[in-house]
């Protein structure tokens, strides 16, 4: 039982107790804010762009000792939102800005290709965009419909909200739903792992994350390579955007300039992304 009488007497000390915690809470909040100021730049958003931004930030911090860049995930939508609300200095997105977001300032730092992958033992070398769409919508469900073996296709997709998924939906699905029976995984890594383990699986991931455990099929006869993304013959590619609420200046501009410099481009190229001669603003 609660000692009621006892609490009565002690109300004042309870008040002191609580105000003590409130004080600590408020202090920790304010110190958090002032801490964030001294960080320098906060970058947040697409987890597809995140590893590349981290590599760039690391290099930039090495070149400019004492300067700190904090790179966080959260997803493309969160990236756009955090740029809009200024919770981050730079938002990252792996999809184009939607119509209601075009007021923001953005720059395409690189382009990422999507590869459609199967198990290396799969005899299929080439698929048309239409065939991929039919596989993912469930119209084609057996490899023998594509000239392969008589086995059910194990379709693997990404989760709702993922930038890779929305890029795939936009580039391949043409407003047709992905079959809800498809297996859903929440990272490029797990998709690659599952396709590498399963002889009858199909999946898709960032071109830069291909390895020899999986095989990228040709799309409409075009190989999934960097060169083909640059020359435009390979269609499955998506932009990597840096977004700010207003035209960048000061430290933010310096960092973006670095990313778009020859040095930055060289790093992104080395990571498997595709960069342009003129990182054009939009």
């Amino acid at each position: 039982m609660i000692p009621l009488k006892f609490i009565d007497k002690k109300v004042r000390s309870v008040g002191r107790f609580i105000s003590f915690f409130v004080l600590i809470f408020v202090l920790s909040l304010t110190s958090g804010c002032s801490g964030a100021k001294s960080v320098g730049i906060i970058i947040a958003g697409s987890t597809s762009v995140q590893p590349f931004a981290e590599a760039l930030a690391e290099e930039y911090m090495r070149l400019n000792p004492g300067f700190v860049i904090d790179v966080q995930g959260g997803g493309s939508s969160a990236g756009v939102m955090s740029a809009k609300t200024n919770t981050a200095d730079i938002g990252m997105s792996s999809r184009n800005l939607k119509d209601d977001e075009t007021k923001l300032w953005s720059v395409e730092i690189a382009r990422d290709g999507l590869a459609v992958i199967v198990h290396p033992s799969n005899p299929i070398q080439n698929l048309t965009l239409k065939q991929v769409r039919y596989i993912y919508s469930g119209v084609i469900s057996n490899w023998n419909q594509l000239g392969g073996i008589n086995k059910e296709i194990h379709v693997i997709t990404r989760e709702e909200g993922s930038g890779t998924r929305s890029a795939f939906e936009g580039l391949v699905m043409n407003k047709i739903d992905i079959n809800p029976r498809s297996i859903v995984q929440d990272s490029n890594g797990t998709v690659r792992q599952l396709v590498g383990d399963d002889a009858y699986a199909i999946g898709y991931l960032s071109l830069g994350l291909l390895n020899d455990k999986v095989k990228a099929v040709e799309l409409d006869g075009v190989k999934a390579t960097r060169e083909n993304v640059i020359n435009g013959s390979y269609n499955l590619s998506r932009p990597f955007l840096f977004i700010t609420s207003v035209e960048p200046k000061g430290d933010v501009k310096k960092f973006i300039d670095f990313v778009l410099s020859e040095e930055g481009k060289r790093m992104l190229d080395a990571e498997g992304l595709v960069t342009f001669d003129n990182g054009g603003t939009q």
């Binding site: 002690k10 997803g75 989760e159 709702e160 993922s162 929305s166 029976r181 297996i183 929440d186």
Partner: protein, 281 residues
């Protein structure tokens, strides 16, 4: 003077107890505040019985996930409960002391393995095995049930063992004195007498299975469709939150909180049933 110190101490402990309660309150309020608007917007019936989950198109139906949760949990119970009961009976009635001193901590260790390790083991061992020998993609209700069955063993074993041990020695002695065999005693006298404790153990185990997320995400395949067989992939309520929270914003995020509300209500109901059964004893 001493009395005052005592009171002060007891008051301190009371405050700490209160803080756990307030944590519960804060979390509950937060989940409901975040989740209720979308349920109101979509409609309770549409939300719970809707078949299509497509947040990018504004479709929020979680029925396939409710079925997924129920089937995976049922599977885990069907596999795990008989094993757990046999083990607890073995521990209390048959096991020699030396075996017991090894077996009991070993079972407790099972509870200490992080769920991501279970999931990883499931993904690299159970899933390929199912794929090779039973067909399908391997990521399936069966895989999820097997993993969860192992994960709920410690809960069910230790609670039902405690309730078997709590029985007065007279029950067993009386039954044996009347000429019943050891097995007849176990199955006609001891198990029925410990029934409420065992039921509570099973329900708590099931509660654990419903709430498990990480291991299930890794082996269940997470497809949002009504499963047609135990070899089909499925998604549970917890994994829906776990797999999509990374990118969710706006209504999508609210819908994940709403999924949490449904889960919350389910687990609250289960726990109250367990409490009720235990108290009835």
């Amino acid at each position: 003077m001493k009395l005052r110190k005592d009171k002060l101490l007891s008051f301190g402990f009371f405050l700490i107890a209160l803080s756990t309660l307030s944590a519960l309150a804060v979390i509950t309020i937060f989940i409901f505040v975040e989740g209720l608007p979308i349920i109101n917007k979509v409609g309770v019936i549409n939300f719970i019985f809707g078949m299509k989950w497509a947040p990018s198109q504004g479709e929020y139906g979680i029925f396939p996930m409710i079925i997924g949760t129920l089937s995976v949990t049922l599977g885990a119970a069907l596999i795990g409960v008989p094993v757990a009961l046999c083990v607890s009976i073995f521990l209390t009635e048959f096991a020699p002391k030396r075996v017991r001193t090894i077996l009991r901590p070993a079972i407790q260790l099972l509870a200490g393995i992080p769920s991501v390790v279970y999931g990883f083991w499931g993904l690299t061992f159970i899933v390929p095995t199912i794929r090779t020998y039973l067909g399908g993609p391997g990521l399936s209700i069966l895989a999820g049930s097997l993993i969860l069955a192992i994960m709920i063993l410690p809960t069910i074993i230790s609670i039902s063992e405690v309730s078997l041990l709590a029985l007065p020695g007279l029950y067993k002695q009386g039954s044996l004195a009347l000429g019943a065999t050891h097995w007849q005693t176990i199955h006609r006298v001891l198990i029925p007498s410990a029934k409420s404790g065992i039921m509570a153990a099973i329900i708590l185990g099931i509660g654990r299975a419903i709430g498990e997320t990480m291991a299930v995400i890794m082996v269940l395949g997470n497809a949002v469709a009504l499963p047609r067989s135990i070899l089909d992939p499925a998604r549970t309520l917890t994994t829906n939150i776990g797999i999509e929270m990374g990118y969710a914003s706006g209504e999508h995020q609210q819908a994940l909180f709403a999924t949490g509300i449904v889960l919350f209500v389910m687990i609250m109901l289960l726990n109250s049933v367990a409490q009720f059964i235990v108290r009835k004893r």
